[in-house]
């Protein structure tokens, strides 16, 4: 007998985010009206965030296997083999909606959630990264959001004790009402000691571990599956509150009981808390699960079954333990001061039964809760191709030197030191390359191997051409890993889009996924984990399509990684890759000319591979002395960044404008053609490199020489490197302190 709590009305069904046809599906599935608790469980399992109902059919196109892949998508995190009996476990996940409503806690619990995903699999976290998108700097909420999100990421990761080594920060008015907080965590485990969610064995005790359950976060996942309106702040109670101290204890306790061989299956309680974790453990193991909610440790009095099943209180785990090891596991958890309670058992019935106060509050078919979630092939329209901008028609509004100074001090290109200095990036003593380079490099244990890590995407390209933009996001991650000398291995993707019920948004999604898929295949760069965040819209205005890519690469010897800083005066500066001078969707066109227009640069994946392999070889043979990939802002910005990182200037000689067939000077220096790197080599090595390049048909040309205290572009006034640095470093601190800042000329 299932007691009827509030009556299930069409209004209540709608409030749970379930569409009428989805409710009909529930009625058909269970043959009766669901109880209030059951309705809550369905809404938790069938929302977009947990069920991937709009995205699943397209995600199946992604390449998820490869030589190094141990575990692809579908588990808490992806797992790849990095040699020496070790595995790298990693994933990126969004916490967008909560971070907009309550930036500190939203971002903090985003970090907590992704760390838990990694150590649930038996891995000790060794690094975090993130990808942040904020609204226009002039929007009244932006400062508050930047400040809160950065403090929240730092507050959680610093206390937990993992270095936050890299990431990206961008600003655009399309994120005014929906910021993006994508957090990535990376951990290490032994390849033969990976833990999974699937329960096995009938009559096994299901154990609840970690913090107590409270009323925070109820319906968090449902919120993350809806658009925002005018009153989104009212959703604040759905945001969880993080406790990094509890998470640190949970980490140590979990790794300890895993090492002692106590664990059969483990699943963290993330989105949709107890519901999602219990259902997944049972469904993946082809078993039923019975929960007794009277045993669940609660932080608050008189919690109902509905509240307990939907709470998203943080720092909790569900496990199936070996019965003979239960006492040992409990002692370890008690030592760490954490709650430990047997709250249920596995059954052979494949039913999900929830008891509370002696009554059955839910009795549902467990496989169907997951597998029979609605699956949509939503209609989509591909966006019209935008015209290719003829660089010759762009009249430079200012001299190149002035444009360079302006771009270097612009919101998207300026130094993000103000952000990453709030993250402990040196803890654990393995950070080889700190934030600010192309990719972070983190030593694996005592070496000699190291992991290279990066997050990338260029949303304005994705908006202009989802397919090319999707390709570009993957290619840039691959390029950034290559630029430090790493062999790119695999990626995690975090796909952030608007409302999928709108065909043009679905078109962006489908295009980006196809582009990502194509690039992953061409670059042998499989996807092993990921997350989809849809409904990033406010009042019908969607974010820029933002498929963040988190890339992982491997260095055989961490001491051989390349950095972007010039190393000495008098070295040859070489440009690898060919330059048409592509200005469509470039930052030069947007921030200097005030035009957000045109088709984005095309990505030639064969050229990416060829050019990247050539550069990696130069690094491995210790011929390259400095390496930097060319991306946002183009060649001039790349060279300026190399100069600023070292304090050494450069004299650039490539007089491209004099050639009748070449691009204009501005297009050459600021064009965002892909598959390019700037590399320095010793003067006496330059000719050999150019010869070798022509043998293997990689376009390489010399563009200048390092040295002096100024950066001099052809026919331009010299710019002091110190002046560039000042502009580069000052924009963000000035902006955040409420003074200075503002937006560069040309941008509305």
């Amino acid at each position: 007998m299932i007691p009827s709590q509030p009556e299930v009305t069409p209004h209540l069904v709608a409030e749970h985010g379930l569409k009428p046809d989805e409710y009909d599906r529930i009625l058909k599935l269970i043959g009766r009206a669901p109880s209030f608790t059951e309705l809550g469980i369905f809404s938790a399992m069938w929302n977009e965030h947990c069920s991937y109902k709009s995205s699943k059919v397209h995600l199946r196109e992604l390449p998820t296997t490869g030589r190094c892949v141990i575990q692809g998508p579908g588990e808490n995190a992806g797992v790849i083999d990095i040699g020496g009996g070790l595995a790298c476990v990693f994933k990126m996940e969004s916490h967008n909606h909560p971070s907009y409503i309550e930036p500190y806690q939203g971002a903090a619990t985003g970090v907590g959630g992704i760390l838990r995903d990694v150590f649930t699999m038996g891995a000790r976290p060794i690094a975090c990264l993130n990808a942040l998108s904020f609204g226009d700097p002039n929007h009244p909420k932006t400062r508050h959001l930047v400040s809160g999100v950065v403090a929240g990421i730092g507050g959680y990761g610093n206390s937990f004790g993992v270095p936050t080594v890299g990431g990206s920060v961008r600003f655009h008015s399309r994120y005014d009402g929906n910021i993006l907080v994508n957090a990535m965590a990376v951990g290490l485990a032994e390849t033969d000691k990976i833990f999974y969610a699937a329960a096995s064995g009938v009559g096994m005790p299901i154990v609840y571990l970690g913090s107590k359950t409270g009323r925070d976060g109820i319906h968090g996942a449902t919120m993350a599956s809806a658009e925002f309106g005018e009153n989104s702040e009212e959703k604040r109670p759905t945001v969880q509150v993080g406790d990094p101290f509890a998470e640190k204890l949970l980490l140590e306790a979990c790794l300890e009981i895993m090492a002692k061989g106590c664990v059969v299956a483990i699943q963290d309680m993330g989105a949709a808390g107890l519901t999602c974790s219990a259902v997944e453990m049972g469904a993946k193991g082809d078993l039923g699960v019975t929960l007794d909610l009277d045993k669940v440790p609660c932080r608050e009095d008189r919690m109902t079954a509905y509240e307990m099943m939907l709470s998203e209180s943080q720092e909790r785990m569900l496990m199936v333990l070996k019965p003979e090891k239960e006492a040992e596991a409990e002692a370890i958890f008690r030592k760490w001061g954490l709650d430990f309670a047997v709250v249920g058992e596995t059954t052979s019935t494949r039913r999900f039964i929830v008891r509370h106060g002696g009554a059955v509050m839910a009795d549902l078919p467990i496989k169907e809760l997951g597998d029979e979630a609605p699956l949509y092939r939503r209609p989509f329209v591909e966006p019209a191709k935008l015209p290719v901008i003829d660089a010759a028609t762009i009249v430079p509004p200012m001299p190149i030197a002035d444009a360079l100074e302006t771009l270097i001090g612009s919101p998207d290109l300026c130094s993000k030191r103000w952000v990453w200095e709030q993250y402990d990036h040196v803890i654990l003593g393995n950070t080889v390359q700190r934030p600010g380079g192309d990719a972070a490099v983190v030593r694996v244990n005592d070496g000699p191997t190291a992991l290279a890590l990066t997050t990338d995407v260029t949303p304005r390209y994705c908006e202009a051409d989802p397919f090319e933009g999707g390709k570009q996001a993957v290619a840039e991650a691959w390029r950034n890993l290559t630029a430090v000398g790493a062999t790119p291995l695999a990626i995690t993707d975090n796909l952030n889009f608007g409302n999928p019920e709108r065909p043009e948004i679905m078109g962006q999604f489908v295009g980006c996924v196809r582009g990502i898929s194509e690039a992953c295949k061409a670059l042998d760069f499989p996807i092993v984990s990921g997350n989809v965040s849809l409904y990033n819209e406010t009042n019908g205005r969607a974010i820029l399509p933002t498929p963040s890519i988190g890339g992982v690469g491997l260095l055989a010897d961490f001491t051989g990684s390349a950095t972007l800083a010039f190393k000495a005066a008098g070295e040859a500066i070489l440009l690898v890759g060919s330059s048409q001078g592509w200005l469509g969707q470039s930052l030069y066109l947007r921030d200097i000319c005030g035009r957000e227009e045109g088709a984005p640069p095309a990505v030639d994946l064969a050229a990416e591979k060829r050019n990247g392999d050539f550069v990696r070889d130069l690094i491995e043979r210790k011929i390259a002395t400095a390496v930097h990939d060319v991306s946002d802002g183009g060649l001039a910005v790349a060279v300026a960044e190399m100069a600023m990182a070292s304090g050494i200037g450069a004299d650039l000689q490539a007089a491209v404008g004099t050639r009748p067939t070449g691009p204009s000077d501005a297009a050459f220096w600021f064009g965002e053609d892909q598959a390019r790197y700037v590399v320095t080599v010793r003067e006496n090595a330059a000719d050999d490199v150019l010869d070798r390049a022509s043998t293997v048909v990689v376009p390489v040309r010399r563009i200048g020489t390092t040295g002096g205290a100024t950066l001099t572009l052809p026919a331009q006034r010299p710019i002091l490197v110190a002046t560039l640095r000042e502009r580069f470093e000052n924009w963000l601190p000035d902006y955040m302190s409420g003074g200075g800042g503002g937006v560069p000329q040309g941008k509305g």
Binding site: A151, G154, G155, N158, S159, F160, G161, D243, P244, F245, A246, K248, L249, W336, G337, W420, E421, Q422, Y423, D424, H425, V426, I427, L428, G429, N430, T431, V432, R443, G447, F558, T559
Partner: protein, 233 residues
């Protein structure tokens, strides 16, 4: 050097510290749990590492200072044993009454992780014999509450008795507000007790010890201790 590293729940730089002690002395330190009541017999250095003991809830170091093991650390210090507290360890030693003063929120109220420059004020302590007086070293700081403060009498006594061991300066050793990033009184980064056997410091020498990862200026602190303890033994 036979060291013990105290582990409180929420401490997170104990591995960094243990690794550095092993690197310099060849010997792994004993890891001592907060609920224990005694230090291992025969140790000659007790280290309270960095982190967020008990989440830094209530007040940094306040709960850890009252943990069972701290009575043993106090007794060890009272007998002249060397005690090193880094970052949260410094905060804990202040809260435990082994050092004077308190660490407040950084002047700009933000957690800051960056390489900082420290002028070594004295080289005649067990902790700094690996350095020259006046030498400037580069080590990373990573904290939100490192703004050292004490009443005027305590400050003048610390200064008068030469108990300020490390000060935030420019790379060439000049004191200036822009280099005193957390706003500490007199740019104080590290102090010793009156007897000179307990050192607390905010920055992390244990994170700058390997050439392959960058500067190694932190190493001499541990090498100096190794030499000092080798002679004492």
């Amino acid at each position: 050097m036979k060291a013990a590293v105290i582990v409180f729940p929420g401490i997170n730089r104990e591995r960094d510290m243990a690794r550095t002690l092993k690197l310099v002395s060849g010997r792994s330190p004993a890891m001592v749990w907060h609920a224990d009541t005694a230090l291992p017999a025969g140790i000659d250095l007790a280290v309270v590492p960095g982190g967020f003991s008990y989440g830094d809830y209530l007040r940094c170091g306040a709960i850890a200072a009252r943990a069972p093991i701290m009575d043993a650390v106090r007794a060890f210090a009272a007998k002249g044993g060397l005690v090193l507290g880094v970052c949260n360890g410094f905060q804990i030693l202040c809260e435990a009454g082994l050092l004077q003063g308190v660490l407040m929120r950084n002047a700009r109220l933000k957690f800051i992780c960056r390489n900082v420059y420290l002028r070594v004020e004295r080289s005649d302590t067990p902790f700094t014999r690996g350095y020259n007086a006046g030498q400037v070293i580069c080590v990373p700081a990573a904290h939100g509450e490192g703004n050292y403060i004490a009443d005027a009498d305590t400050i003048s006594r610390l200064e008068g008795e030469g108990r300020v061991i490390f000060r935030y300066t420019s790379p060439d050793g000049t004191c200036a507000p822009e280099w005193n990033f957390n706003g500490a009184t007199n740019a104080i980064a590290g102090i010793v007790n009156a007897r000179g056997n307990v050192l607390g410091m905010m920055p992390h020498p244990e994170n700058h010890v390997e050439a392959a990862l960058g500067p190694t200026d932190g190493r001499a602190l541990f090498q100096g201790l190794e030499v000092h303890l080798g002679r004492a033994a």
